[in-house]
């Protein structure tokens, strides 16, 4: 079999694609929830880091990965309120706020890691979230190897994407969120509480980005390393834009980026330099923004502060 045949027939490639896509999809989904209500969220990188750190910390001290998961999600929600409050209440510049949170989170987590655990790093006894084995799916050849045995967060992610889609496009609250993101004045005049909806969007988005971080630290691994998100928050941002601010679009984009990364892992083992593949996510985002693959249009009021009429 040719090298390409070997690479593409290996189920590990697709398993790896899912694993690499999960944090991107969760981050992109989080960004979608925030931006659909009109709050630009470039803070996914920082929120993920915070979720990752507090996930490990809680898991290590409680000896339960589930407590870690919960703590990471809550921490992600809390740090996202640091974006929501000035963005919604004080009408501050949301891009600058997002950057500030990214820098803050990088400093905070590195500092806490040193302070709490010292230079040896997080304890090696930290529990990890379990791999799930899906009974029937697992027995199907090939598909079973890809989908049948993944970390619990991977399945959570798929579930959240489906629920997220249903929620945004098929419920009243979802419609209100989109209305607030498109035209807050109009939403306000029909009695929708713009401020509350925006808080809600950012908070839910923050919790999902927090879960992305949890997956990195106690899903894939059982430790925290300084800056371990390694730019995934920004790629998630790209996935959100490439996915046209929709849950399924975000997942699709994340899978594409994840696949590009996973292919580069396997190809390298056969001596192919994979640097070109490494730039794929960024190149695709530029393509998406130039409108070649259909127009990618942000919610109309995305990034615009809204002052409720008194």
């Amino acid at each position: 079999m040719s090298v390409l045949g070997l690479v593409f027939s290996n189920p590990e490639l697709y398993g790896s694609t899912l694993a690499m896509a999960t944090p991107l999809a969760l981050g992109a989904l989080g960004g979608t929830f925030s931006e659909r209500t009109g709050v630009v969220n470039i803070a996914m990188e920082g929120i993920m880091l915070v979720g990752a750190f507090f996930g490990v910390m809680a898991a290590a001290s409680s000896h339960s990965a589930w407590v870690g998961l919960l703590a990471g999600v809550v921490a992600g929600g809390l740090i996202s309120l640091a974006l929501a409050w000035p963005a919604v209440r004080l009408q501050s510049d949301q891009v600058i706020l997002g950057m500030a949170i990214n820098l803050f989170a990088a400093g905070l987590t590195a500092f806490l890691l040193n302070t709490v655990y010292g230079f040896g790093g997080t304890p090696i006894s930290t529990p990890q979230l379990p791999q799930l084995t899906i009974p029937i799916l697992n027995n199907i050849p090939f598909l079973g190897a890809v989908l049948g045995q993944q970390n619990v967060v991977v399945y959570l992610m798929i579930l959240l994407v489906i629920i997220g889609h249903f929620f945004l496009f098929h419920t009243n609250l979802g419609l209100r969120m989109r209305a607030v993101g498109e035209h807050p004045e109009a939403a306000d005049t029909v009695g929708i509480n713009v401020v509350r909806i925006r808080y809600f969007g950012v908070l839910i988005g923050g919790m999902m980005s927090g879960l992305a971080g949890v997956y990195l630290s106690i899903g894939m691994l059982n430790s925290f390393e300084v800056n371990m998100t390694d730019g995934r928050g920004y790629i998630a941002l790209a996935a959100m834009i490439f996915g046209k601010w929709t849950p399924f679009g975000s997942l699709g984009a994340a899978l594409l980026f994840g696949f590009a990364t996973a292919v580069s892992f396997s190809l390298q083992n056969y001596g192919v330099s994979a640097n070109l593949i490494g730039i794929l996510p960024y190149a695709l985002t530029i393509v998406a923004l130039t409108g070649v693959i259909g127009r990618s249009k942000a919610p109309a009021a995305d990034g615009l502060p809204y002052e409720p009429s008194k």
Binding site: E12, P23, F104, L221, S223, M228, F265, N269, G278
Partner: protein
């Protein structure tokens, strides 16, 4: 309220990180500015705070006036490898000679020049730059401050009288762990060994100090097990354990049962994957067995701590040597960590038999990968 809490945490952290308390100078200068800082600035300060200049009460007189500044690369002090080891070396020098020290961690490559310059400006006698990636920054700053002594780890700067370059012949220790991996791969009765005769090596970035390990490893494996397949990949990051883990899983799916990560923090993901799949990993730079006691079978050691301490001692005693200083098996600048019990005595004996050959120069492993 929150803000006060944060200030408190920052101060607390200085105390916990600095065994001998915060120096008065630091408190006076920084506290007033801290009080004015916004939350964001606080977080930025939080890291340099780790470094708080040490005040020495029991300083031996010889080093009391000698100040050493350590600048890490972006891997930071938590990298479980060479940044951390440089810090250990500085601490050793502090204990032995009573030198004063300060540490600054770099968050991005644009921090290198300002971090080095700050130490030089503040009159530090010796400034230590950890890593090949700081080459141009050291070139620039050492020219501007000719009276300051610099030590750069893993990089050869030969045109400055005030720069010492510590080069580690890590192809030698890479070769030894490669020999061990090759021999292990031929063993029949070890559950972790699958008989497919495949080993893997994962580099952080494709730079000389990483490549020398990898090239040595490959040569070592091939020496004792010429038919072995050596899978090779780069993560393009030293701080991405998630990618490290997936790359390792990819190599494991292609039959690898021993993987050698040369990738700083990324490597912890490789070691994690090896533990999950119950195959062997080999630690790098420091003895990393503590990360997974039953599967990290040995570690290729790089005596960054030894080199750092020697350089400080030399500068302190006016024996500073500029130019390239090699650290290798002969002067115990590199080596291998004691292996775990799963490694048979016969393998160990064979590995040891290569040490004199390397020391005497009868075997000279390549420092560059054959694919380059």
């Amino acid at each position: 309220m929150t803000y006060k809490l944060l200030v408190y945490i920052v101060i607390l952290s200085m105390k916990t990180n600095d065994s001998e308390g915060v120096s008065g100078r630091f408190m006076k200068n920084r506290f007033s500015s801290l009080a004015l800082s916004a939350v964001v600035t606080l977080s930025a300060l939080a890291l340099p705070a780790v470094s708080a200049a040490a005040a020495q009460k029991h300083a031996a007189p010889i080093g009391a006036k000698f100040k050493v500044g350590l600048v890490t690369d972006t891997g930071g002090l938590n990298d479980h490898s060479f940044n951390h080891l440089a810090y250990v070396g500085v601490l050793d020098a502090h204990k032995k000679f009573g030198v004063k020290y300060s540490v600054v961690q770099s968050h991005q490559s644009s921090d290198y020049v300002p971090n080095l310059t700050t130490f030089a400006q503040e009159g530090y006698n010796m400034v230590i730059a950890v890593g090949y990636l700081m080459d141009s920054a050291v070139q620039q700053v050492s020219k501007e401050y000719p009276k300051t002594k610099f030590l750069i780890i893993d990089d050869a700067i030969t045109n400055r009288k005030n720069v010492m370059s510590a080069i580690f012949d890590t192809q030698q220790c890479g070769y030894l762990v490669g020999v061990m991996a090759g021999l292990m791969n031929l063993q029949k009765h070890i559950p972790q060994i699958n008989g497919k005769n495949v080993v893997g090596v994962i580099g952080g970035q494709d730079i000389p100090p990483v490549e020398s390990y990898m090239a040595g490893f490959e040569a070592g494996v091939k020496k004792v097990d010429p038919k072995a397949t050596v899978l090779q990949a780069f993560a393009n990051s030293f701080t991405d354990p998630g990618t490290g883990q997936q790359m390792a899983l990819s190599q494991i799916s292609q039959g690898a049962d021993i993987i050698f990560p040369v990738a700083g923090g990324t490597g912890t993901g490789v070691i994690n994957a090896a533990k999950q799949k119950n195959i062997f990993a080999i630690g790098v730079d420091a003895n990393q067995n503590y990360l997974a006691p039953s599967t990290v079978m040995t570690s290729a050691l790089k005596g960054v701590d030894v080199a750092t301490e020697i350089a400080i001692s030399d500068a302190l005693h006016h024996h500073f040597k500029s130019g390239v200083v090699h650290f290798n098996l002969a002067n115990k600048g590199v080596g291998i960590a004691p292996p775990i019990k799963a490694v048979p005595k016969s393998v160990l004996k064979k590995v040891d038999s290569f040490i004199p050959l390397l020391v005497k120069g009868k075997i000279n492993p390549p420092a560059l990968l054959s694919s380059h």
